[in-house]
Symmetry: C2
Subunit: 212 residues, 2 copies
Amino acid sequence: MEEQSGGAGIPKATALRMPAYLRYLKAVSLSGAEYVSSASVAQSMGLSAVAVRKDFAFVSSHGRPRNGFSVRALIEDIEGFLGYRRRTNVVVVGAGKLGRAILSYEGFERYGLNVVAAFDVSPAQIGAAGGKPIYPMARLPEVCKRASVQTGILTVPREAAQRVAEEMTAAGIRAILSFSPAYLKLPKGVLVKYEDLAVSLATLCSGLSLSE
Amino acid sequence: MEEQSGGAGIPKATALRMPAYLRYLKAVSLSGAEYVSSASVAQSMGLSAVAVRKDFAFVSSHGRPRNGFSVRALIEDIEGFLGYRRRTNVVVVGAGKLGRAILSYEGFERYGLNVVAAFDVSPAQIGAAGGKPIYPMARLPEVCKRASVQTGILTVPREAAQRVAEEMTAAGIRAILSFSPAYLKLPKGVLVKYEDLAVSLATLCSGLSLSE
DNA sequence: TAGATTGTTAATCGATTAACAATC
DNA sequence: TAGATTGTTAATCGATTAACAATC
């Protein structure tokens, strides 16, 4: 019993590299090239050519000896694998500066992501931004239910994070992308991914001091 | 020849878990507990107890049989390992909504990060935000030189990303945290970390569909 | 056909887990 | 002392690399 539906059986490490391949391949596509070899991808991305071929083989079968891989086909295959074809509704909770910046962000669509609305406790923030409505927190359960929202972006201050995250799970949200540095203690089954800008930046900086 | 200065020899996987440990331990500390066992950390964070002990052993020696680990000491040791004691100057390039939100973010300090200034091509954006100055792009090299800035946060639109990233490296920046989805082709030795909100969110969503 | 490049099988490497000894 | 918990050594597992066969 190894196989599951939807492309499981793919090594975790391979799956995690897919977004980076996609980003690179789109740049190649833009530059006009129709084919890439595993060697050139490897070179540009700092990987080994064998690793690249093996990774590609998991999601695509458009590699041909002598020619390499069709860039277009590869992009389609990876997007399919990553599920960027499915449409997913999400909400933003916290309509401060960061929350509003996210509301105005135009890049979600091409990943099948649709921001339905934002929510905030403060009446001063109610209204709209980036063409998306900002509702009071009280409406969160109703909106999530109606739009079948299971995913939320959390952009409230540290002190409010735990309480608000609990409200989100109560509203039926099962996955949270949190920009708050606070550790969230939530029921098992709720997925939390921390997007801590300071941590990312600090990690990058220490990478710098290591590399010399 | 395995040893290097500054705690090298630590497995990569271990190092990558450190920020998550820190986040969790700070929450424990706030709750008032003085000691934690590897078992309780493992339970809360979804790891195995042996893994936790081994990880902690790489950066700390404050574990004691019967008592567990001193939360305070552990936090200090991990912060030391991660280099949050060093002070590092950074700049923000692109003063749109996201750039300004980052300028106003107060969480960088505790990681030893100091945002010196932001830069933008558009004269309309020049001024200040979050108490930090916003300068025209032309001043980037000068400011980076004076403040010894090696790290930059890139928050310009996709079309401008490559050009601006080149300006940044020309100004002496050696590590870039990019919020643009564009692939950046830069000289070897320049570290790029992509912080693609849409990708993070999409990955989280597909994690959701996998977990059931 | 010859040459370039993919795809696969076997070997190596690193990380995790299991078993258990050390210690407060 | 007995019991709980750490720290370490050996075994397993997964991911990467090396070698080479398959194929356009």
